[in-house]
Symmetry: C2
Subunit: 477 residues, 2 copies
């Protein structure tokens, strides 16, 4: 298969080396939420920067932030061609429960056509497909067919706190015609997909505090309100009998989609059975009156993602814990506003908190939902690229996930983002035994090559764009 | 103060050595619920046995069980005197949360007249007071004023699974007139108390299982019933608006006490304010219509003593956990029956478990409530002993805790137990920074000496008892 004359062949020859390099990339335990890994993240950023220099990108720089660094690189020598901003993240989710991994999360292994490791898919493997595509071009043609700016961050899994301010400060230098990233899912190995909608997010921690110290449950059981019990009772009041979030005002701005859009979704999206088998779960749950695909994309959700309180070990400990805390993860949809939802949630929690305990709410993340116009010419380029890389036309999908940077690109840089994902539904992102399907890695590289080619041909669509005129500015970032 | 001619003085001289030995005893991390400490428990049992040989007790033996050993010793040379069975436990509760300890839990330190360490009070310090009392007698008089059998177990904190069968197998050899133990509380440093009632217990673990693997809360949130949410919703249904356990049938056998008993309790027991200040908690909770002392003694309770599920670390992890589990600790009162309550609880949980998740219930402990006749002559001996040891008459108290062996002594050996406690309400048993008030340790030793003396004088009360005739039998245990 010739994707781009002379380029595809080189990818084929270099598959083994690309895989070895990806394994090296995964080996850095870049868990952004855990302070103990700050040094690993710094080392990974330095490794990545060195790698980008090695493949021929220019102006490679590592920008320190108040937490984890941003890696920048560009190649801006394609006069009168469009500029693509390639985004990815090299940080990963925590690994626990560690004992459920079949192999150490940061010691990647290849089994059955997959590479296993934390970050293999989300997002090291997927972002690396773009890096290897650029390398293929630069090694064989000594040039890219368009201008590229790369922006690789180390804070995506903690809500990108420093990326937005960085982009705002450097909006001029980061000007581009379109952004592209691969951090989303396909429907199956031969069923590529382009994501055109993302849910927003609000992550909070709810802490309930009772006695100053843990108490003996025999001596005090029955006299003191147990913070774990109070926490459970509060969480038990966050959904109603119809499985809907029961926070007053929460639903006011949830958009009702016209029948045509829901019909399109029913045609393009996964069936309930597919979602349940992907989730490896026996029974459907979800709001009544909506398909599971709708429940996870155009309807908001609330997940309790962790509870800490009391004795966690084997056997029993007869204790009333002094405190308990839950991590609550809301997913928001158009036209909900995270700030407003945060206020409503805090107000509701204050209303249902018992007077016999104290409570506190801490906000970790807030992100707007995102929508991308399916008719953008860059979307057509991505469609063609998938056809050439996978031999199949992609469907347009909504995702239930949250990628805050998509809104930042839109609001600050005024550009759309092409979400060209290579993940499979069973890649176990965020879970033990995360993997990346190796055929998707190789086909992903081919697709990214084709995307650069397709976009490079589109000079007319982006003629006279601001990005083109400012392609030399990155050095003053 | 002369408690018993020539004995008290020796105690005074040996205070420092007794404290050093107690510290050595606490240093063994004898956490019976955690398999990794099995070796520590074995070593502690061996140390204790050697110590008992050293002070002059006879027939000292360490009995292996299927889990943790029982240490036995006796002194049976007081012809025609009563026999006292001295019980204690050398195992301790888990130490977590470890980071809340001001000093390492198994590296005891003395600060402000207290010795700090896990087990300092519950029960190593309290049981050691009896050991030191016997030592004082044996060192000064070369004899005890009565016959003694010691039974020190290593499984109290896990519900004494092997002690009952051991006592049943050796009922003949363990025959005694009365049992005594110190594992209960006083009202304050100068307010000794004898406990005459204990609550029973039922400890279970409720596990809810959902998806086979942890899921991404963005991709699947809204489509899958979250096991942590389901668990919270179930726990939220275990109490009603009146703070009463809302399990059908649970209250059927709860005894209604006559007004005289409640009046006695109101006079002898702690006021609500005292219980709240002991608990270091701001607000009272508890069933309406009962004092907090009643809520914790003659009314049953349910404490959620721990929840495990999802992400426990700092920050966020966007996950729907595949499973969640809660430890539930019921305290039962006369005339509730643990087996029946277990059946009712399991039935109720099955009834409220959602069909969209799976669940399992595991039972860890079951124990009957206990009542001891306040008019027993051994109770009078304990009263006099406190007057001599503490210079104050004890009150008779109910405890909310559970000591299963009290019922075993009653049912298998046919003897009452004198619960002669030396713990203070703020000793933080089962919590971080557990301590033992050193004046209570020394006065406790004096009180135990006086108890042996008082009991020794009571030969008439127990004349011709079976225990006396069988005092040589222990060797065939």
């Amino acid at each position: 298969m010739f994707l781009v004359r002379g380029v595809c062949k080189v990818v084929g020859e270099h598959d083994r080396r690309a895989l070895a390099e990806l394994a090296q990339f995964i080996r850095f335990p870049t868990v952004s939420s855990q302070p103990k890994h700050a040094g690993d993240i710094r080392r990974c950023a330095a490794w990545l920067a060195e790698h980008l220099v090695g493949i021929g990108l220019r102006n490679v720089r590592v920008f320190q932030t108040s937490r984890h660094p941003i890696v920048y690189a560009d190649w801006l020598l394609a006069a009168r061609r469009p500029t693509v901003l390639v985004y990815g993240h090299y940080d990963v989710q925590p690994v626990d429960p560690l004992n459920e991994w079949n192999s150490p999360p940061f010691d990647p292994v290849v089994r059955g056509g997959n590479i296993y490791g934390r970050g293999a898919c989300d997002d090291k493997g997927q972002m690396f497909a773009h890096v290897k595509a650029m390398e293929s071009y630069l090694r064989t043609r000594r040039a890219l067919p368009l201008n590229v700016k790369c922006l690789f961050e180390g804070e995506e899994e903690i809500g990108s706190p420093n990326l937005g301010p960085f982009i705002k400060r450097n909006a001029h230098a980061l000007a581009a015609d379109v952004a592209v990233m691969s951090d989303t899912r396909m429907l199956g190995p031969d069923r590529p997909a382009i994501t055109y909608a993302l849910r927003g997010g609000l992550s909070i921690e709810l802490e309930v505090r009772g006695p100053k110290i843990d108490l003996h449950s025999g001596n005090f059981g029955g006299a003191v309100h147990n913070p774990l019990q109070a926490l459970c009772e509060m969480i038990g009041k966050l959904h109603d009998g119809d499985r809907r979030i029961s926070i007053p005002g929460f639903w006011n701005r949830v958009r009702r989609w016209p029948p045509e859009e829901r019909a399109y979704m029913a045609k393009a999206g996964p069936a309930d059975e597919k979602i349940l088998s992907d989730a490896r779960v026996r029974s459907r749950w979800g709001e009544r009156g909506f398909s599971l695909y709708e429940c996870t994309t155009i309807r908001p959700s609330l997940s309790v993602s962790g509870i800490v309180g009391g004795y966690q070990g084997p056997g029993v400990k007869a204790v009333i814990p002094s405190r308990a805390a839950a991590k609550l993860n809301f997913r928001l949809v158009p036209d909900q506003r995270p700030d407003e939802i945060e206020r409503l949630v805090r107000k509701h929690l204050a209303g249902i908190a018992p007077s016999t305990t104290d409570f506190a709410v801490r906000t970790f993340l807030k992100a707007n939902p995102a929508l991308i116009d399916r008719t953008n010419p860059a979307m057509n380029a991505a469609e063609s690229a998938y056809e050439r890389g996978f031999g199949a036309s992609p469907v347009f999908l909504r995702s239930g996930g949250t990628i805050p940077v998509v809104n930042i690109f839109k609001e600050v840089l005024g550009i759309p983002t092409v979400l060209m994902g290579f993940a499979l539904p069973d890649d176990r992102i965020h879970a033990p035994n995360e993997k990346f399907h190796l055929p998707n890695f190789y086909r992903g590289i081919a697709t990214c090559i084709a995307f650069l080619d397709e976009m490079g041909k589109m000079k007319n669509s982006f003629a006279g764009s601001k990005a083109g005129q400012e392609r030399e500015v990155a050095a003053v970032l």
